[in-house]
Amino acid sequence: MIKNFKPALSAVALSLAVLSQGAVAAEEQFFPIPGYRVGPYGANGQAFYGGFIDYLNYVNLKEKGVNGVTLTYEECETEYNNAKGVECYERMKSKAAKSSGPIHTMSTGISYALIDKSAQDKLPLAMMGYGRTDAVDGSVFPYAFPLVTTYQMQASAIVKFLKDKAAGDLKGKKIVYLYHDSAYGKEAIIALEAESRLNKFDLVQIPVAHPGNEQGAQWLKIRQEKPDYVIFWGWGVMNQTALKAAQKVGFPRDKMIGSWWTGSEEDVVPAGDAAKGYMAATWNVAGKTVPVIADIEKTVYGAGKGNLQDTSKLGTILYNRGVSAAVLSVEAIRKAQEKYGKGKAMSGEQVRWALENLNINDARLKALGATDLLPEIKTSCDNHEGSGKVKIQQWDGAKWVPVSSWIEGNKALIHPLFQASAKQYAKEKGITPRDCSKEK
């Protein structure tokens, strides 16, 4: 009996070894997610990261991952707090050393805190619509990607939209820029000043102190100024307060146009009727009519694997934005695999290359079912933004309705500003910029 037992035991051990080897060999692409679902901006994070994770699961369920590589992730709660964001990054970076998708923090502050660290650790940092915008210049910031569009290009696109509304001429018009008095709010000023000089409109800048839950003085000043339009750069409670305050002083909401961080359902629903007619920029539309969103609901939630407990968030602006971030990230993994080997997990360095060589056209977006979730994107070493386009949407009291086609900011005016700023940064930090002509 004992004699027979020994070989049997060896066989079991061998089988286990083979199985475990097989398990190790199964490729997994890891996504570190320093996100937030609680705290002051938890509601925004829930929708965004819910959408992001749902798309990763969707690719796993629908295609068995990217060329057989399963997409995995780990979330770490930052509460939108810079210190916690860095802590999360440090905790997850060893796991990300083998393979890492782009890191999305959804926070300008955390992005700033990670920009040098991620470059040292060779982990790609995505900053879609936030973060350090001069990182558009990839010669100085190889690992940072302010993808799709930046605050400055967005501001420029909004001016273009207003110019079209004013029959192509803004000369003599008055535009108030009402902004959150923080790095985020101040980012667009340089672009608006340049646009003001170019288009000869009068720009009045009015800051609002954080958190922006009291704007009585600012709106009385706006009433006194009698502007043609208000361009609005708010965040959190500042958004609803501004809409209510505009109603209070009788300023028409359809002459207010906000940034993409003022244009989600979370920003307008609490303001009730005061929000009706208000416009905001966006790079992704809302709704479940986008094919991939409908298919996520069917495939992922149908299989009981949805990430959101509150499914009413499906198809909201921020949910769809989370999906758009995941689409871009997964496309980067696909691109990296094309160069470095299909069916393999990609390192942060390989994904960085892919993010710098993205080329997602309308046909590809259509094939992904992601038309209108993203504009066409073509990145390069000297253009980590890749698009610079937004759409303008309007709140009809119940839903966001797109009221423009894609509008591109004035690249010739704005991009040199990024290059000048990046050059200054390189000088301060002693960085020798890469020669982009040699990067292919």
Binding site: P40, A209, N213, G216, A217, V237, G250, V269, P270
Partner: protein, 304 residues
């Protein structure tokens, strides 16, 4: 001149909203000598309870009653599980306990009622009164006037409560000396439970007014930041002080926001707006130099 008056009146009406929050601080401080760090979180919890109950199908009046019940239960629980063990401990221990309480509420409330920002409709439109706008060209909001009325009623009620009721006198005795109040038979535990319940009611009123104005969301906890300079100015123990302090802070911050930045820009260049976040604190600190106990605060005299 018209614009100056418009800013001044707008500021005074905003100040009433600050005073509504400050009153909650005064209630707790008056009865227990504790600065309640959790007052902002209580405002959030109260407003969230109202919208939470309404989402479950309760009409507004019932939601308010249920929210009041929640706040009262919360007050009793705070006394039983947090404060009871801390009788006669230094005020800093009680203060630290309220910090813990604030974080606890900020975590628990959205777990129960959800964290997404929501609208709270009280049926009062926040629009300018047409007659004043047409005849005086001034923007005075109906909502702000209603808020002022609510604050006036609340202040009068609380002032009478503290001054003329047995519980009010007991509250003041407890605030002076826990041990002495206990020795003459004042039931400290009941008194604290009552005062936290009343502070919960004040938080409910403040939460509803602020929630209707800006939406019910986590940022309601920040309303406490607006109340602090009001307390410094008005005194931590005075109900009328909270109102007068609120009016002074509201009016001065609005006037400062409008009139100081252009002067600074002329002198130094650049953009100096957005000062209403810190200006009230500077004003309050300057005031402290002249009158450390605040406008209506009780002068503290120790025997040597």
């Amino acid at each position: 001149m018209n614009f100056f008056l418009e800013v001044l009146i707008g500021g005074l009406l905003s100040g009433v909203m600050y005073a509504l929050v400050a009153l909650g601080f005064v209630m707790i401080y008056k009865a227990s000598g504790v600065f309640n760090f959790a007052q902002g979180a209580m405002v959030y919890l109260a407003a969230l309870s109202v919208v939470g109950c309404m989402e479950k199908g309760a009409p507004l009046w019932l939601a308010i009653i249920l929210a009041f019940a929640i706040m009262t239960a919360f007050g009793i629980a705070t006394e039983k599980f947090v404060l009871r063990k801390l009788v006669n401990q230094p005020p800093i221990a009680l203060f630290m306990a309220t910090i813990g309480l604030a974080f606890f509420i900020e975590g628990l409330a959205p777990m129960i009622f959800g964290s997404e920002p929501r609208a709270l409709e009280l049926g009062i439109v926040d629009e300018p009164i047409p007659w004043i706008l047409d005849n005086w060209n001034m923007v005075i909001s109906k909502f702000d006037l209603v808020a002022s009325g609510v604050a006036a009623v609340l202040v009068a009620t609380l002032a009478l409560f503290f001054q003329y009721t047995r519980i009010g006198r007991a509250l003041r005795a407890v605030a002076d000396d826990h041990q002495a109040a206990l020795s003459i038979g004042i039931p400290l535990q009941h008194i604290w439970a009552i005062v936290w319940g009343v502070a919960g009611f004040v938080a409910l009123v403040a939460g509803m007014m602020w929630g209707a104005r800006n939406g019910v969301q986590f940022a309601l906890t920040f309303t406490a930041l607006k109340a602090l300079p009001v307390l410094i100015l008005g005194g931590f123990t005075s109900v009328p002080g909270a109102i007068v302090g609120g009016l002074i802070i509201g009016a001065s911050e609005k006037l400062a926001e409008i009139y100081i930045p252009p002067v600074m820009q002329d002198l130094f260049g650049g953009n100096f707006g957005g000062i209403e976040g810190w200006f009230p604190y500077v004003l309050a600190l300057l005031f402290l130099l002249v009158r450390p106990e605040g406008l209506f605060g009780e002068k503290h005299i120790d025997r040597v």
